[in-house]
């Protein structure tokens, strides 16, 4: 039995939460079980009649080669993003937080890609990779390297690499800012003491800077991991997952099954799988290794620190 005061508190609390809860429940929370529910049906999404098929969609999913290729591509995307974006982020982050002339201007200009939409970036880069009039191939022609020219996005061997480079171009500035913040929070005395003791710049970087930003590196890896499940717009605009599914991600495959082929039941199955995967990944990163508190603190300091 809850006391009168508790009931009053609960009422006030819910009154403040209610407006947000209405939107959040309706458009985010309830859709999750709904998607799982739809995954047991064959349904085109428009007509009211749904045919109950039990676990058929799930069996199909586990046998679907294209789906597994998209899972694999998501995995490759994570690995490549970590390999490319994080080191570049650290490099540029230390650059813009160093004392070079115009560091602030560099930082501001480097950040420009982050303000563009994934659609705009996708289209700009489609033009760069364009086979006949595109920037890269015309440059290769001028350099006399025409034999290297190819239809970058039309060739299954090069398409995914081309897309990954574009994604890196978009997100490196973001990690640059994270690392710049982490690096400039390192005490200057520490570096100076090391220099007085005769350390070289390389030594300072590997022995002082890198260990002190290791938390930011971990955070960045988590962000890459959870972010990769959400990549959609850029790939959809550039290749629509093609050619022959070489750039297919779970997100693009889910969209195409649901809204191009109108297999909403099967699309919901893919979405449900993505949900399970992201939930598992989140729980694993939060709890395994007992880093829960550290992770939370890292997040918190990151969030509020950047507001000051």
């Amino acid at each position: 039995m809850i006391s009168k005061k508790e009931r009053h508190n609960l009422f006030v609390g819910l009154a403040f939460l209610a407006p947000a809860l209405v939107f959040y429940l309706l458009y985010f929370v309830i859709p999750v079980p709904m998607s799982f529910f739809y995954s047991f049906f064959k349904w085109n999404g428009i007509t009211p009649d749904k045919e109950f098929v039990g676990l058929k969609n799930w069996f199909l999913l586990f046998q679907d080669k294209v789906f597994w290729q998209s899972v694999m591509n998501n995995f490759i995307l994570v690995i490549m993003s970590i390999i490319i974006q994080i080191p570049m982020g650290i490099l540029l982050g230390s650059l813009v937080s160093s004392k070079i002339k115009g560091a602030r201007i560099f930082k501001l200009l480097y950040f420009v890609p982050m303000t563009l939409s994934a659609v705009a970036i996708g289209l700009i880069w489609t033009f760069i990779y364009e086979p006949n009039f595109g920037v890269i191939n015309t440059m290769l022609d001028t350099l006399g390297l025409s034999h290297l020219a190819t239809g970058w996005l039309g060739d299954p061997d090069t398409a995914f690499g081309a897309v990954i480079l574009t994604i890196s171009w978009e997100y490196i500035p973001f990690y640059m800012i994270l690392f710049a913040a982490a690096i400039s929070s390192i005490s200057k005395d520490l570096n100076e003491a090391a220099y007085i003791d005769g350390a070289t710049e390389t030594q300072v970087f590997f022995k002082i800077t890198l260990p002190l930003i290791s938390n930011t590196i971990k955070t960045s890896c988590v962000l890459v991991l959870t972010g990769s499940l959400k990549y959609f717009g850029l790939i959809f605009v550039m290749t629509e997952g093609g050619p022959s599914h070489s750039t297919e991600l779970m997100a693009t495959y889910m969209y195409k099954q649901s809204f191009t082929n109108f297999r909403m039941g099967y699309g919901s199955t893919i979405a449900s799988f993505m949900f399970i995967l992201s939930a598992v990944l989140t729980v694993v990163t939060l709890y395994v290794g007992g880093r829960k508190e550290e992770f939370k603190c890292g997040r918190k300091s990151l969030g509020s620190e950047s507001l000051r």
Partner: protein
């Protein structure tokens, strides 16, 4: 320093190309090379784009983003206040519920939101976008605002309580104004995300006159496969508002965008 300049070129050259080739006439573009500077720049591409659906796209995006942002800031700050300041049963449950939304891919919501929007009769209207736009940005909004409110001293509210202030007055007259830095950051972050949002508008909008900028752009690509300069002009026009906004706000925008670091 050399590296700094090389990276600057890598960052800005795609944009320079876009700008340079958008003022070329089709003949000049297809006969020449994308690397050459336009001989006689013409703004015909831009005037053409403007007479097409482009003004609709701009207007739609502006309306949807403005309304969604207002709802987000009000509902988000109220929610954050409840979680940061009030003591009530199940509070931690609600907080966890919101935080869980940060890492979940929105694709899980697409089909149900699509059917819901159809049932509500909002399919293919810009109003149908507001619900999902608010819904999927609430977790990060509440997360950032709650963290900031946690650091605001309680003493002011306690003094106001002695003077007989209600909970609403404590929120609206004290904590909300004091949270201004976080509210600015969240607004900037949500604005960039919503201005550039694509997937919900792809799923929920059909008619050309109801499209948002990103969806319109994607459609221009289909129309202009043979006219790359016109496409580039449309691209530049659509990115211009945010570039201007960035030029004005500068580091504020960077701070806002990274305050939402969790979202990646």
């Amino acid at each position: 320093m050399i590296f700094a300049i090389i990276w600057l070129v890598i960052t800005l050259y795609p944009l320079v190309f876009m700008l340079m080739n958008s003022v070329k006439e089709p003949m000049e573009f297809f006969m020449g090379s994308p690397w050459t500077i336009p001989e006689n720049p013409s703004f015909e591409n831009y005037t053409n784009i403007w007479t097409m659906n482009f003004p609709y796209y701009l207007k739609n995006t502006f309306i949807v983003v403005a309304i969604s942002l207002s709802i987000l800031v009000i509902t988000g700050s109220m929610g954050a206040y409840a979680i940061s300041r009030l003591k009530f049963k199940y509070k931690n449950f609600f907080f966890a519920l919101f935080i869980a939304g940060i890492t979940i891919p929105i694709h899980i919501t697409l089909v149900p939101v699509y059917t819901l929007t159809r049932q509500m009769g909002l399919y293919d209207t810009i109003w149908g976008l507001i619900g999902p736009y608010v819904g999927f940005n609430l977790p990060i909004t509440i997360f950032i605002l709650k963290n900031f409110m946690d650091d605001i001293p309680h003493s002011l509210e306690e003094a106001a309580k002695i003077d007989g202030a209600t909970r609403w007055q404590m929120f609206w007259k004290i904590v909300f104004p004091l949270s201004a830095p976080a509210i600015t950051a969240v607004t900037v972050y949500d604005m960039v995300i919503l201005w550039n949002e694509f997937i919900f508008s792809l799923v929920l909008i059909n008619s050309p006159e109801n499209r948002t900028l990103t969806l319109g752009l994607w459609d221009f690509q289909g129309q202009f496969t043979a006219d790359i300069p016109a496409m580039l002009a449309a691209l530049f026009l659509s990115t211009l508002p945010l570039l201007v906004f960035y030029a004005i706000t500068g580091e504020k925008l960077i701070k806002g965008m990274t305050a939402g670091a969790v979202k990646g």
